[in-house]
Symmetry: C2
Subunit: 217 residues, 2 copies
């Protein structure tokens, strides 16, 4: 597998979709798929698929297509799924709780080590088996365990402060669900934000386009 530092953000963002699609194909028993069929299932052209994958090496065979299991495995490698990354959750409100209970961390190659909160009602308890600790012990915990990613679901007012503490304590990445635009001054920390509003506004735009077309066909 070749590594290419110049891979575009758009291609990087498609990699998890390939992985997801291939996982679903594997579950439904598909063994081999052409780039055309794989593309069609993802709303991409065959040539886009080939170009994307070519950024990372040679996959598939002309006229034969891709073997679903080995392509899934290789993309999983590229995504770092087998690296044993670890994660902690900061904030156990409804959203934090929903993610802890329902998100399949292990299917994405992450071990969820602990959750942190300030509320004495939850500190000391477990959510879906995950221990909830007081945030006072955050730095000690990160120093004692290898924590790669901190997931932020704290209130917006606490977002930057908790983000700074995670960065200072040495995490490699922050997965930000706070809707707050974190300032990340450290080039060695990766910041990935989930902005629900960006998604809803995209939907709003696409609906509005349809409305205009219906009014002026």
């Amino acid at each position: 597998m070749k590594r290419n530092a110049k891979v575009s953000t758009a291609v990087i963002r498609r990699l998890p979709r390939y992985y997801r699609q291939l996982s679903e194909l594997q579950e439904t028993g598909v063994v081999r798929i052409s780039s055309g069929a794989l593309g069609k299932s993802m709303g991409l052209t065959a040539s886009q698929i080939r170009q994307d994958l070519f950024c990372f090496g040679e996959f598939g065979q002309q006229g034969y297509g891709y073997k679903v299991d080995s392509l899934k495995e290789e993309i999983g490698e590229i995504l770092g799924i087998s690296r044993g990354h670890t994660l902690i959750v900061l904030g156990t409100g409804n959203l934090g709780r929903a993610i802890i209970q329902n998100f399949r961390f292990s299917a994405n190659g992450f071990a969820l080590l602990a959750a942190f909160d300030v509320d004495p009602v939850v500190v000391g308890s477990r959510i879906a088996g995950v221990p909830v600790r007081h945030v006072n012990g955050l730095e000690d915990f990160i120093a004692a365990h290898r924590v790669d990613v901190g997931l932020l679901t704290v209130p917006m007012a606490a977002a930057q402060q908790m983000g700074d503490r995670l960065m200072d304590a040495g995490v490699k990445g922050i997965w930000n669900f706070t809707n707050y635009e974190l300032v990340c001054a450290r080039p060695d920390v990766v910041l990935e934000s989930v902005h629900f509003s960006d998604s809803l506004l995209t939907l709003s735009y696409l609906i509005s386009q349809r409305e205009d077309m219906e009014e002026n066909p």
Copy 2:
């Protein structure tokens, strides 16, 4: 404002980010901004900003930059924020509850009309003022009100069935949080999915790249 049917998905996906960034600039009292400064705050080049906005018309003035409030307003128009779109939530588990309680629907131009569930414990109650109805009444409710979007947070096993009911009942869009890849056979319905795993795997990829660089600088 011109409408251009050929605007690329990448540009469309950046529009909500512009809107969010301009909202934050407005809140901090910035009146006017150059394309260079706006780009820098978003990790884009000045020319990319100009190209993106040119898809929708003429904004800003050479050597003067953009007026923050009017650009925000125009992008809001493009996104359909002032169209009075409406939304219902299907599923009031932890995630549904978190979104109902915390997401600022009105700031994104949506009115949240009702939530639906099957659990007799929550049906008839209110979450953050939003009435929870039984899902048996879904079609009647959609017929009686103008419902533009259905937000899905039901269990994966129920996702396709509830998605089909929403489409058959005539919604224009589905905002899918179920992690299930919905099949949407209707070209008139817009499907927008929030896949947490795509976001975490992107983060995993970027962290893995950093790890490799640290090992082989």
